[in-house]
């Protein structure tokens, strides 16, 4: 399979169920990898390959919730779908708080399962794209110097060069030079675009109006 083809990771301690669900998912057109324990999965998954996790909530040693929190620590957390045989309310609540993608009864209809997996994979793809974009964005901002960041913070507040020069105690021409450098480094054409990117990158705590003077 190609590197970009998403994989459905299924984690369940019940061998028979594992076989059955992997058959169904494969027949439904998904690439599937099965693991009989959460630990095994955490050791052997490929972080860079997109996908989602389908895990039994109840497993010996390391249960579904443990897996969820372990996954959350990783840089590329995959969406996690829980399989449950029964309505275990406290576990469900905890799982939802942890950002579970969905809950599926073990005997949920196939369509619901396939939809949920498709949705999870789409979310993963989306999240991966978003993460990639944001990473790229952050890399652009990383290129800015400390002074440029200071200038930027004033610019996105809509302040004039004159005001910025006064506030920072520098010459207005210097402010202009910084602004040119910023737009080049961040590859933007307009102040509006600059403001949007800054917000997307989440560089400054929003809103920035309370930014203290003299900094």
């Amino acid at each position: 399979m190609s590197a970009t083809e998403p994989i459905v990771y299924v984690v369940d301690d019940d061998a028979s169920f594992l076989t059955a669900i992997s058959r169904l998912l494969q027949a439904s057109g998904f690439a599937v990898k099965t693991f009989s324990s959460a630990r095994d999965f955490l050791l052997h998954r490929d972080e860079d390959v997109p996908g989602c996790v389908l895990a039994d909530l109840r497993m010996p040693v390391m249960g579904g919730l443990d897996l969820q929190s372990a996954l959350a620590q990783t840089p590329n957390p995959m969406p996690i779908l829980f399989l449950t045989g029964h309505g275990d309310i406290p576990s469900t609540v905890q799982a939802m708080r942890g950002g579970a993608e969905d809950f599926l009864e073990k005997r949920a209809p196939k369509e619901k399962l396939v939809d949920a997996v498709t949705r999870a994979l789409a979310r993963d793809a989306h999240e991966r794209k978003a993460r990639a974009y944001r990473n790229e964005l952050l890399a652009r901002f990383d290129a800015l110097s400390q002074r440029e960041l200071e200038v930027l913070s004033h610019v996105v507040q809509g302040r004039l060069n004159k005001q910025i020069a006064y506030d920072l105690g520098i010459h207005e021409r210097t402010v202009k030079l910084h602004r040119t450098s910023i737009t080049t480094k961040l590859r933007v054409q307009s102040v509006a675009e600059l403001t949007r990117l800054t917000q997307e990158a989440g560089i400054f705590p929003v809103p920035a109006q309370t930014f203290p003077k003299g900094q």
């Binding site: 028979s16 169920f17 076989t19 059955a20 058959r23 045989g85 073990k106 196939k110």
Partner: protein, 615 residues
């Protein structure tokens, strides 16, 4: 009156009195021939004394000779009655010797009347007067009759006969009588014979006083007879007392037997007859006059119990046995009764069974009460299991959902495979196999659950302890996983089988494991574990232990932990452990709780191994 007259007449009257009493006894009881013979001897002694007195007072030789002649008759009678008395009384003495004594004495009597003036003297020539007891008495002198020896021979033979009989009686153990009767007869006969020999051969000048010695014999005989009469009346009294006692015991027995509604039956194995009390007939539903046969009795027994009772009876007769049984009867009116019987077989000297005595009573009430108690116990145990099912519910749902989910996924996958242009039949076959396995898996979970939910009383079967424990662990595994408790199972190899009721023992184990897990919940350990172990305890017990590493049991609660309604859990009913104890004890085992050295509690219970339980 002279001393001689006084002595001799007293002697005679004493003899006559004794004779009269004993004659009367004989008249009332003709079987008492000893009394008749005694009277004869006493009368003869009196007659002898009379003749002696006659001789002592004789004035002429003729009178003396006549008196002497007549002494032979009572003398002969005394000998005869003595022989008869000894034979009768001592039940000894040689018959030929007795007949010899009779013959010789009779011959002497005949000679007495035929030869000379009497058997002592051919002719009395003159009388001499000699002093005796302060008086002058007559003694004879004359030509002696040599035939006198025949009479004296007879007396010697009499002594020999009596001595011989005495010895025989002595040897037989009848020592007192042998000594008194035999001894006195021998002694007095020897003395009397000796005296007459000395007198008649003229060695001693004295009158004949044989009656004195005969009286001695008579006195001893009289003593013996009256002693016996006394003893007889004493025995009679004792007999009456003991008979009265016996009747009293019989009365009490029958009162007790009737009061307790006991029925008694006796089966004569020799004549093949059966006798039974009215109570017994009422118990078994037989009319008072209805003839009884073993087969018709056995037919009254509830068919399921019949063969067992039949075998029990046969075995009791074959071995030297008592039997004891509890069984049901179906009476002709359709009523069912529980009967308890016990009985004993009696054997003759050769060891052949001759009769069977049996006692039966109705224990229906007790049995019904027992059954009710048992039902109640079963009901409580059942309630315990149902409430435990509540705890198990989520675990069981998981256990069932797992295979059901697998089945559904497999079926859906199979449906998709079939949509292919060329379906992979091998894969579809594999899918169907897996579905079959999962159906069985789900089925076995349901079976286990149903087994626990069913209400049933204890039925002991052969149980393999390891399998039992593994089954229970399979039931709680999912629950343990949800509670993050690890279940360790350790079963000794080659454990013997136990006789037990699976479901009830599963209940005990489930209860103990749940308790262990509950204890761990409160502690919040890093690596919570419940250990279930089984091992041999001695040769006759299997010990199963469930331990946890929780908080343990506070010492003050340890003693009460098996009490009903005693609980340490906020939502506990306090019935789990009392039910467990009832179940374990119904299996002949024991259960106890203690604290582990390393913290946590351990519950141990024992079960007797199969070969012990069936003994």
């Amino acid at each position: 009156m002279s001393l001689i007259t006084i002595i001799w007449s007293m002697l005679s009257s004493a003899c006559l009195t004794l004779a009269g009493i004993n004659l009367q006894i004989w008249c009332k009881n003709p079987k008492a021939r000893a009394n008749l013979l005694f009277s004869l001897a006493a009368v003869s002694t009196a007659a002898f004394a009379f003749c002696e007195l006659w001789m002592m007072r004789a004035e002429t030789t003729t009178a003396f000779a006549t008196a002497l002649k007549w002494t032979s008759l009572p003398g002969w009678l005394v000998s005869l009655s003595l022989v008869g008395f000894v034979r009768l009384y001592l039940r000894a003495g040689r018959p030929w010797l007795a007949w010899t004594v009779y013959s010789v004495r009779t011959l002497a009597l005949l000679l007495n009347f035929m030869v000379g003036q009497n058997i002592i003297f051919m002719e009395i020539t003159h009388l001499r007067h000699i002093p005796f007891l302060g008086e002058t008495v007559s003694v004879a002198e004359g030509v002696r009759n040599p035939w006198m020896l025949v009479g004296q021979l007879g007396l010697v033979l009499l002594v020999i006969f009596v001595a011989d009989a005495g010895v025989t009686a002595w040897r037989r153990g009848n020592r007192r009588t042998a000594l008194t009767v035999g001894g006195s007869v021998v002694f007095f006969t020897i003395v009397a014979t000796g005296q007459s020999l000395l007198v008649f051969w003229g060695i001693v000048q004295a009158p004949i006083t044989a009656s004195l010695f005969f009286f001695g014999v008579v006195a001893v005989m009289g003593y013996e007879l009256s002693y016996n009469a006394l003893r007889a009346s004493q025995l009679d009294r004792e007999l009456k007392v003991s008979q009265a006692g016996l009747r009293e015991i019989e009365e009490r027995m029958s009162l007790a037997v009737e009061g307790a509604h006991f029925g008694i039956w006796i089966r004569d194995l020799v004549r093949n007859e059966i006798w039974a009390t009215d109570n017994w007939r009422a118990l078994f539903g037989f009319k008072k006059t209805e003839p009884l046969e073993l087969e018709s009795i056995l037919q009254r027994i509830y068919p399921e119990d019949r063969d067992a009772v039949r075998m029990l009876l046969a075995r009791a007769i074959e071995n030297n046995g008592n039997y004891q049984a509890e069984y049901r009867l179906i009476l002709p009116n359709g009523e069912m009764h529980w009967i308890a019987s016990h009985g004993r077989v009696e054997f003759d000297a050769a060891g052949n069974p001759i009769l069977v005595r049996g006692l039966s009573h109705d224990i229906t009430e007790r049995k019904v009460a027992e059954q009710e108690t048992q039902n109640l116990r079963d009901e409580i145990a059942h309630v315990g299991r149902v409430s435990m099912m509540g705890q198990l519910a989520s675990s069981l749902a998981h256990e069932i959902n797992q295979p059901l989910g697998a089945i559904l996924r497999n079926a859906e996958a199979g449906g998709l495979f079939l949509q292919d242009a060329s379906p992979d039949l091998d894969e579809i076959r594999a899918i169907l196999d897996d579905i079959k396995k999962d159906v069985q898996r789900a089925g076995s979970v349901i079976d286990r659950m149903r087994g626990l939910l069913k209400r049933h009383s204890i039925e002991k079967r052969k149980v393999e302890v390891g399998e039992l424990i593994r089954d229970v662990v399979a039931l709680v595994r999912a629950d343990a996983v949800a509670r993050r408790v690890k279940l360790d199972v350790e079963i000794q190899d080659d454990l013997p089988l136990v006789s037990a009721d699976r479901v009830h023992l599963q209940q005990v184990l489930l209860n103990l494991i749940f308790n262990g897990m509950d204890a761990l919940d409160k502690v919040g350990r890093q690596d919570p574990r419940v250990r279930v172990t089984a091992q041999l305890d001695g040769a006759q017990l299997v010990e199963i232990a469930v331990s946890d590493d929780g908080h343990g049991i506070p010492a003050d609660k340890l003693v009460r932990i098996f009490d009903p309604f005693f609980t340490t859990k906020p939502n506990g009913l306090g019935m789990g452990l009392p039910i467990s104890r009832t179940i374990v004890e119904a299996h002949g085992g024991r259960i106890l709780a203690e604290n582990n050295n390393g913290g946590g509690a351990v519950f141990r219970f024992t079960l007797p191994t199969l070969d012990v339980a069936t003994k």
